[in-house]
Symmetry: C2
């Protein structure tokens, strides 16, 4: 079988936190990542628009050849996954919401769960519905935390300013919950500040790790795992190919923080959707 | 002459601060406002992409009939104004950068000017060039302040968090300048915090007011001013028509803060560019 890559799609660089978790869990796989940087952020846009963008992005990845699509954007996962499955029946589609919801239910001792994310993710209520499917008795509260996105992109991930903003968003929210879901791919960069403000009684669930575990399971079930013995010559092997719809310099600079290693702008290929 | 409206274009709701200044300066005019909310923000996107979006937005306004185009988005003004003038020769085009630069030079006593804006505006250097054309000896420093945009959209416009963020962005910047240009339409909402942090030695220039004055001058010169005696029946007179490319609810909710009066979602017409 031709060793097709796993496609990963996000509105921008945030999904690189999911790519990082996928690479750690699946070191023998190759990846094709697409960040729709020309149209980010999705979090403030309507469901119809997000769905249309998700279709275009998926088509671009499917045309290049992928064996699995990971929708690494919470907003797009919440809105477009079912629709993408219907339109691209040949490709298994994995979002970040379902694995995150499952992990939250597992982590929660009293079934009181808070979800933080963008305005679009929270308003859409997909986490609430996904958690209810896992545990009908769970009580879920959501809160949009848009400034966390700006902080992560700016690289202001610790110190008094992120801490003050975390207090403003979270203080009254965490009082009555035992689990907090980071329902936005930008938020893992702020996880230490968020965890400190939430306090040790509150379990923090990052859906990147749980999505990677779900991807592994899905590949196994479908017998799509890459061989551990890679027969591709090292010279031609590309573990990650990065596509973006705009701004390779910014993608590389900001993306480096999200992926946890230095990216160069000339490694980012610009595509038009 | 048919009383055509003035077209105002922005990437989102920020330009409503410019619309507000235009309405105050030109109470007899009607306005057609377009916010490209499906693709905001422009500030982090490349010049080519911003130019393409500005063309599409301008075409949409020109097709509906306007007598003057005000590009209320700093990023688009910086990148696309000359290009728009070449492509739409029948429509006078006014950006916010030139009037802002002129006002800065007038306000500055020692010719030491700081400009704050989005990443795209600052990186593009349009204010620096425009100020240099007015005063070749002026020293201009620029700084991108992306978190100010998120604060304005969130409505966090005073108190300790905006103040701490303003200190982080501005403390070393304002040390050596006598004038600070608010080079982003979102920033007037934070002007009291910015002015307090900058200190009373520093003059604050808001390009919305100066753009409105320039629009008045341009209309007079071209003999395009609306008659002060409005003969349109009150019932059919529409002083402002609002178009957006996405999310009428969010446009109305966030836009109300920028325009300074309550907007309703059903007053926002969705258009596809």
């Amino acid at each position: 079988m031709r060793p097709l890559p796993i496609g990963v799609f996000d509105s921008g660089v945030g999904g690189l936190t999911v790519l990082r978790a996928l690479q750690a869990a699946l070191p023998h796989e190759s990846f094709l990542y697409l960040g729709d940087t020309a149209r980010l952020p999705y979090g403030t846009k309507s469901a119809d628009t997000i769905s249309r963008y998700a279709h275009q992005a998926t088509r671009a990845l499917v045309e290049r050849g992928i064996k699995l699509l990971v929708v690494a954007c919470n907003t797009a996962s919440a809105v477009a996954c079912d629709d993408l499955r219907a339109h691209f029946p040949g490709i298994p589609v994995l979002g970040v919401v379902e694995p995150g919801a499952r992990a939250a239910v597992r982590a929660s001792k009293r079934g009181r769960i808070a979800v933080i994310g963008t305005e679009g993710t929270i308003k859409g209520g997909a986490y609430t519905r996904a958690i209810a499917r896992e545990d009908g008795a769970a009580v879920v509260v959501g809160r949009a935390c848009p400034l966390f996105v700006a902080l992560a992109e700016e690289g202001w991930t610790d110190g008094p300013i992120p801490t003050a903003i975390a207090h403003a968003y979270l203080d009254d929210l965490v009082d009555d919950v035992d689990t907090l879901v980071l329902g936005c791919t930008h938020f893992p960069l702020l996880s230490s500040v968020i965890a400190a403000v939430a306090g040790s009684r509150v379990a923090i669930v990052d859906s990147a790790d749980t999505t990677a575990a779900a991807a592994l399971e899905l590949l196994d079930r479908a017998d799509l795992r890459a061989s551990e013995v890679d027969t591709t010559p090292t010279r031609t092997r590309v573990p990650v190919r990065l596509l973006a719809t705009d701004g390779p310099e910014r993608f590389a600079r900001v993306g480096s923080r999200f992926l946890g290693l230095t990216l160069h702008a000339d490694a980012v290929e610009i595509v038009d959707l």
